[in-house]
Structure formats: C-alpha cells, structure tokens
C-alpha cells in the first residue's frame, strides 16, 4: 500500500531542506571567513618573513661591523703596544739623561769644592806673604816699592772677595731653601743698621717703612737685603745727604719690597745687564765691586718663586723692587 504523503510532511521536509541549505550557506560563509583569515595569516607570515630577513641582514651587517671593529681593535692594540715600547724607551733615555745631568751636577759641585779650597789657599798665601814682606822689610822699601806691594795686596783682596762671591752664588743655586716665617721689616732694619755701622761719618737719611712678612729662607733673604742696601749705600756715596728708603706693601696677595736711593743711578739702556753675573755698569775707579751682588739677589728671589725689577736714572738714583709670592703659594712645593 502506497504511503500517503501528507501536505504536512511536505512542509516539514521542505523546511528541513531549507534549514540544511541555510546551514550550508552559513557554513560557506564561515569557510570564506576562515579562508580570508588564513590568507591574512599567510600575509602576516610573509611580513614576518620579510622582517626576519631584514633582521638576519642586520645581524650579518653587525657581524661584519664587528669583524671590522676587531681588526681596528687589533690595530689599536698593536699601536698601543708599540707606544708602550716607545714610552719605555723614552723613559730609559730620560733616566740616562738624568744620570748624565746628575753626574754633571756632582762634577760641578766637586769643581766648586776645589775652587773653594784650591783657589782660596794660594790667594791667602799671596796676601799673607806680601803682608809679611811689608812687616819685615817695609822699612827697606822705597815709596814705589810700598805702592807696588799695596797694589798686590789690594788685588789679592779683590780676588778673595770674587772667589767668595762666586762660591756664594753657586751655593745659592744648589742649596735647599728652608721655609719659615721671616719678619722682613726686622730683617731689613737689622741689615741696614749693620751697614750703617760701617758707614759712620756719612750724611745719611734712611727710612724703613712697614714691610709685610714672608715665608722663606732667612739667611738667603738676609743676603738680598745686604746686597740691595749695600748697593744703595755704595752708589749714594758723595750725596749730601744720601737718602735710602725701604718700603713694602701687599699687592694681589704678593709681597712687594722696594729699595730706593738718590745715588749714581744707571742708564736704563743697560737695565737688562744689571742682574747678570760679573755685569757692572760703573767703572772700578768710580765704585768697587765684583758684579755678583745683584746676580745673587735675582737668584735668591727667583728660587723663592718671586721676581725682581729695577729702574734707574743716571745721576739721580735707583729703584729696586722684588716681589715674593703670597705666603700660601710659597709654602707649596717648597722644601720643609
């Protein structure tokens, strides 16, 4: 018996088919989406791939750069090694040069030692024996004989002074400088009054103003005052009255000391020669001297880290100024 298919059944069937078709359509859309998603992922992966390639290239570049750097570093290392060798060689050369300089210094010391001993002794003998001649046989000499003898003795004295001055000068270059507070005003007054004792009978007007103290070697600084004030007295001989003044002040932390006189002065044309050893700007028959005094002044002031300056006018007087560094600066690096 044939089954009768009802209208209801057909409707249900049709609905089911429509549902299935609907589902298939959805499925298709999902599939499309999925495909799109996959394509997108593939796209991204391509980008990733490109980025990865770039990255790899960058790393390769870096490795290349690194190799170049390595070569450079190797070169620098070799250069440094060479420089070290060169420096070592330079150091050896410097040590050798220092040894030579030290030896030369020792030789110089030995030289001044023998100057001290070997030159002074015969000068003393000449002076002593000419005085013995004068004492023992003076009555048998005529005036000319006595004059000649006096010339011998005067020159011997000069030579003795010269040797002693030179030794002083050379010793000042080698001797260590002691650093202590020095009352410059008291020192200048002390030296001046000593010198005035030897200049009795002269018409003199002297003044020592307030002077700033300093740090330095008292014995050496005493020599500076002795030479400057001694010169002022010597070159103002014949002035009535001779005026000698000492002044001082602080300027920018430096101590300035000035010695002025109204003596013979000097021509500024020759000022550059003034502080040289054996340099004299006056004839022996005008003023005696060995030409070492101002060289000593310049050396002592220089060794104290200071400077010295002079001005003069022929026939009117001289002006000597020495400047010592401030107390703080002068204590640095100095021997204790």
């Amino acid at each position: 018996m044939p089954t009768a298919i009802g209208q209801e059944d057909v409707r249900n069937y049709t609905n089911a088919i429509l549902n299935i078709l609907d589902d298939a359509h959805d499925e298709r859309a999902r599939l499309d989406d999925f495909q799109k998603a996959i394509l997108n992922v593939l796209d991204d992966s391509n980008d990733e791939r490109a980025r990865y390639d770039d990255f790899q290239k960058a790393i390769l570049n870096l490795l290349e750069d690194f190799d170049i750097e390595k070569i450079k570093i190797g070169k620098t290392n070799r250069e440094m090694a060479r420089e070290i060798v060169e420096r070592e060689q330079a150091e050896v050369a410097m040590r050798e040069a220092k040894a030579i300089a030290d030896a030369a210094n020792r030789e110089l010391e030995a030289f001044s030692y023998s100057v001290a001993h070997d030159l002074r002794a015969p000068v003393r003998a000449i002076d002593g024996f000419s005085q013995m001649l004068e004492e023992d046989c003076g009555s048998r000499l005529n005036d000319e004989g006595r004059r000649v003898l006096k010339v011998i003795r005067d020159n011997t004295h000069k030579m003795g002074t010269l040797i002693d001055d030179l030794l002083d000068y050379s010793r000042l270059g080698r001797q260590d400088i002691s650093r202590a507070r020095v009352d410059m005003e008291a020192l200048a007054k002390e030296v001046l009054s000593e010198l005035l004792g030897q200049a009795a009978g002269r018409a003199l007007s002297t003044s020592v103003g307030p002077l700033p103290p300093t740090r330095g070697d008292r014995t050496m600084l005493r020599q500076v005052w002795t030479n400057l004030l001694g010169n002022a007295l010597k070159f103002s001989q014949g002035r009535d009255p001779a005026r000698i003044s000492v002044e001082g002040h602080l300027s920018n932390g430096e101590a300035v000391y000035i010695v002025r006189d109204n003596g013979a002065g000097f021509d500024m044309k020759y000022v550059h020669k003034l502080f040289g050893v054996f340099q004299r700007l006056h004839r022996q028959d005008e003023f005696e001297g060995t030409g070492v005094g101002l060289a000593i002044v310049s050396r002592v002031v220089g060794r104290h880290g200071g400077r010295v300056r002079a001005e003069g006018r022929l026939g009117e007087g001289s002006f000597f100024e020495f400047i010592l560094p401030g107390q703080d600066a002068s204590t640095q690096g100095g021997a204790p």
């Binding site: 030692y113 001290a116 002794a121 003998a125 002593g128 024996f129």
Partner: protein, 145 residues
Amino acid sequence: MTISGSVDIVLVEDSPHDAELMIRALTKHKLANNLLHLKDGEEALRHLFGKETSVPRIVFLDLKLPKVDGIEVLRKLKEDPRTRTIPVVVLTSSRENQDVAECYRLGVNSYIVKPVEFESFVKAIGELGLYWMVLNQPPTAAAVA
C-alpha cells in the same frame, strides 16, 4: 819647631805656606811656644795615638790632607775614648755644607773657614788661640780617666 816636653798646640796642615802663616799668626799672639806641626793625617794619627804623647790643649786640623784626610783623622780621634776629649778645631778653606755637617756629626769642637785676607786670618787665629789656650778649661787627666 822644637818640642821640649809638652805640646800645647798640634797643627795638622800639609801646605807649608798655610802652616807658616798660621804659626806667624799664633806667634803674634804669643801662642806658638809649644807647637807641633804635622804634615799629613797619618803623621797626626801616629803622634796623637803614641804612648809617650802628652795630651795637647788643642788640635788645629786641616781637612784636605795627604794619605789620611782630615775627616778620617777627626773620626779616629773622636771614636777612641783615649783621644775623644782632645778639643779639635777644623781649620779649612772649604765652606761646603756637607763638610761642616759631617765634622759636627763626628763631634768636632769648632769649624773655622780660614779667611782669605791675612789680617782677618791673624785676627781669627788670635781669637781662636786665646779661646782654646786661655779661656777654655780642659778636663783634668783624672776626669778623662
């Protein structure tokens, strides 16, 4: 120099001219009566360490001497208890600081730089001689022993 009995001054000096000047300077101050002049360091040591030697009041010692130099003579004298109390005055031309320092380190009694000028020399020697021969009181033999 004739030595009769005791010696007051021992002069150790190799330069005959310096010695003559020295003796003349001492004579001027009437101090050279009992003076013995020795001409090198070896002679000085032989004399001063001799058994028969009387202790001098003063030794004037030059530094630059043949054979044994003055510093060595000074060292030997000041090292030995028998000679340590003899006053030693170094008389030299050297004004080198190292010499002065070394002599004082060894115990020198005085260090004099001989003046170049004879008049100053005579004056210095006179003062020295008077000081050591007249003013200075030496230790007695008992005190030394």
